[in-house]
């Protein structure tokens, strides 16, 4: 009897101890996209944070950027999502609209309220992640795209990169044609290629330059200004294999091969962060100065001078995590993002923090003036609860025209019908 009671007591004590220990240990999972430069510094931040707070462990998981959207959706729909994640805002917007993410815990990260937090950042930073007066994400980066140029290839084609770079989309076709090398019909060196399939970021501004829009002002009607859309569709047809054969979505993404300086791509559309990747992938090319950045082109008959849309990656916290986990998650996010200058120098991503933007070193960074000027003439990427879906429809429309040689008006009618159906569907 005494033995049994003693054993029972020991078992109970162990159980109690385990539950106490379990309650004190917080394990956070953090999903993000691949970026070798960012992985190095964030792994260090994790070590430092865990050293400061031994009761917290953080597991960082990386996935291909193109797969993150699907993976996150699957995880959330199975109620098995990570505690912390980041996605481009056009994908994150739906999560906020459906209350799947938690508002920022201002006090946990040292702010009084939403206004206090917003005052530390560039005006308008939190517009897209604010709902009912609450902020739902902290910006990891705000990015826009401009045109990177390989000067050597320009000279090889008899062009002066400083003056002959394309300022209009019409010039882009002509310049790219001069830069393109082919073996018969097969392109061996592209002059430029588009940033497929990010059509909301890079293609929709082309339509807006011509006075077109994806939705009417009241958001109830799909496609505004057919002529603008058809002109852009025709531009893509001219670009593709049924036109001047200058590029196609089926070739390797331009930004992935630009850094190698292998004489296979002269220009690509990408962000400030590309410089960090050039520096790591090909230090010789980076140091040579044989690359430069020029503004996003505009159509000759443009009615609006619109640059490539900018988008943000916001760090968000899963609303289904416990209150305690949420608090620690925000603390950890704030700790990471407090290293704004290191993110800028090492990863070449810009947090729109006022202290960073006011730093005199900021504008001295290579071609920062080009990116900032482009950003000043652009706007945040189109956001809608079904934005992801609309982008897929636009992708199919462009591909139909460019690759399947569908008439532009037919492709536009199909696009309009599909988007309108989503707008009309209430559920």
């Amino acid at each position: 009897m005494k033995k049994t009671s003693a054993l029972l007591l020991i078992a109970l004590s162990l159980l109690l101890a385990a539950s106490v220990v379990g309650a004190q240990t917080i394990e956070l999972t953090y999903w993000t996209h691949t970026d070798d430069n960012r992985t190095v510094i964030e792994n260090r931040y994790i070590e430092e944070f865990q050293a400061m707070y031994p009761n917290v462990t953080i597991k960082r998981v990386v996935n291909e950027a193109s797969k993150m959207g699907d993976l996150m959706l699957t995880a959330f729909s199975a109620n098995n999502a990570p505690d912390i994640f980041n996605l481009p805002i056009e994908q994150e917007y739906g999560y906020m609209m459906h209350h799947r993410v938690a508002p920022v815990n201002y006090k946990a990260i040292g702010y009084k309220d939403a206004q206090d937090l917003a005052s530390q950042y560039m005006p308008g930073t939190f517009d897209t992640v604010t709902m009912d007066g609450q902020i739902y994400g902290l910006p990891l980066e705000l990015t826009n795209w401009s045109i990177y140029i390989n000067k050597n290839i320009f000279r090889d084609a008899g062009l002066d990169p400083e003056t002959d770079y394309p300022k209009t989309w019409e010039e882009m076709i002509e310049v790219a044609d001069k830069l393109t090398l082919r073996n018969g019909e097969i392109i061996t060196r592209r002059g430029f290629d588009f940033r497929y399939p990010y059509y909301l970021v890079a293609m929709l501004p082309m339509v807006e330059q011509l006075g077109g829009q994806l939705l009417s002002e009241d958001g109830k009607t799909a496609i505004v200004n057919d002529e603008a859309w058809i002109q852009v569709f025709e531009w893509f047809r001219t670009w593709g294999p049924h036109g001047r054969n200058l590029g196609s979505p089926t070739y390797t993404a331009a930004r992935k091969i630009f850094n190698m300086d292998n004489n296979d791509i002269a220009m690509c559309l990408t962000g400030f962060y590309q410089q960090g990747r050039i520096r790591v992938d090909n230090p010789e090319f980076y140091d040579s100065g044989e690359w430069m950045v020029v503004p996003f082109p505009v159509f000759e008959n443009a009615v609006n001078d619109v640059g490539c849309s900018y988008y943000g990656h916001f760090m968000m916290v899963n609303a289904q995590a416990s209150a305690e986990k949420q608090e620690w998650a925000w603390k950890f996010i704030a700790y990471m993002l407090d290293h704004g200058w290191e993110y800028l120098e090492t990863v070449n991503i810009i947090q729109p923090r006022q202290d960073l933007l006011d730093d005199p070193r900021y504008m001295e960074l290579p071609y920062m003036n080009v990116f900032m000027d482009d950003m000043a003439r652009s706007h945040m990427v189109f956001l809608h609860e079904n934005g992801f879906q609309f982008e897929r429809f636009i992708k199919e429309a462009i591909e139909s025209v460019m690759l399947s040689n569908m008439p532009s008006d037919e492709a536009l009618d199909i696009l309009r019908e599909r988007i309108q159906e989503v707008l009309d569907d209430s559920y």
Binding site: S66, N245, T250
Partner: protein
């Protein structure tokens, strides 16, 4: 007394039979039967995959929508084109290759292995390999240019409608031809040699032997291969998914399974996606039933 003992022996055997079969029945019920029932139930609701709101019952609305949807009928058309374009060559050529393998005396195992090896690759890996081959600078263009005596012609394997559809058929054909060849090889191997010898003694040549002896006796195997090939083709997904992710246009190869994926994962419409899955299941079930019915009307015996 003997009858009683015999009966209890049967009962014992039956009990043990249930013991061995029950685990797989439970697994089948949990991972196959339950998801089908659940999908059927979901198809009567309107649910956003991301939303925490409870799903809204809509009855047959999802099915009515699909039957009136151009997008859905386009994916049905694409699936039929792919299935007919793949299934028939698979059936015919796997039989031809099996006859070839059985007709040779040396290197039989080597050929079986060579033809079967693509089948062990995952569909994703197979698609990735062929994406490199179909790249404008890849082997497909180089090979076809060499064959046709042309230089620098881009056959747009991943761009134009016709070539893109052909590319997906080629990938599937390459991956599964060996698999069905091996099934036919075992089918041919099961035909008694005595029948062949008797036919040869009676004056049959190789063609007559194949057409009037081997082929009729292969009916059960042919039925098995045709059912399996048809089902495989109807549920094709990875190739089309990988190709469209790599920049190929979606419209020409938007088969039903890809439409289901996009509807669920990209559009968040899980109810509509499950309705499509149920329709696909019904079609596959119908084809299988039809083929089994046809095969039963002409049963084959080696006696």
């Amino acid at each position: 007394m003997h009858r009683k003992r015999g009966f209890s022996m049967e009962k014992k055997k039956a009990r043990w039979g249930w013991v061995f079969v029950t685990p797989s029945l439970i697994l089948f019920a949990a991972f196959s039967f339950y998801p089908i029932i659940n999908a059927f139930y979901e198809s009567f609701f309107n649910r956003n995959l991301l939303s925490l709101r409870p799903p809204r019952f809509v009855g047959w609305d999802n099915y009515i929508y699909l039957f009136g949807s151009k997008d859905f009928w386009l994916s049905v058309q694409n699936t039929l084109i792919f299935t007919l374009g793949t299934f028939l060559p698979l059936l015919v050529f796997s039989l031809v290759l099996a006859v070839f393998i059985m007709s040779i005396k040396r290197f039989r195992r080597f050929f079986q292995m060579a033809f079967y090896s693509p089948a062990v690759l995952s569909s994703v890996v197979a698609a990735l390999i062929w994406l490199l081959i179909f790249d404008p600078r890849g082997l497909a263009n180089q090979g076809l240019n060499a064959l046709m005596g042309t230089a620098g012609v881009n056959y747009n394997w991943l761009s134009t409608t016709g070539m893109l559809r052909l590319s997906t058929i080629v990938v599937y054909f390459w991956k599964y031809i060996g698999y069905f060849t091996v099934i036919f090889v075992s089918g041919i191997g099961s035909i008694p040699d005595t029948l062949r010898e008797a036919a040869l003694i009676d004056g049959a040549n190789r063609w007559t032997l194949f057409w009037y002896v081997t082929l009729p006796l292969l009916k059960p195997t042919t039925m098995l291969v045709s059912i399996m090939a048809m089902i495989q083709c109807l549920k094709t997904f990875s190739t089309q998914y990988m190709f469209t992710n790599a920049g190929a246009p979606t419209r020409p190869i938007n088969v039903i399974t890809l439409n289901i994926y996009n509807t669920a994962i990209k559009d968040y419409r899980i109810g509509r996606a499950t309705a499509m899955s149920i329709l696909l299941f019904i079609v596959m079930f119908a084809f299988t039933w039809l083929q089994l019915k046809v095969s039963r009307t002409e049963e084959v015996s080696h006696m």
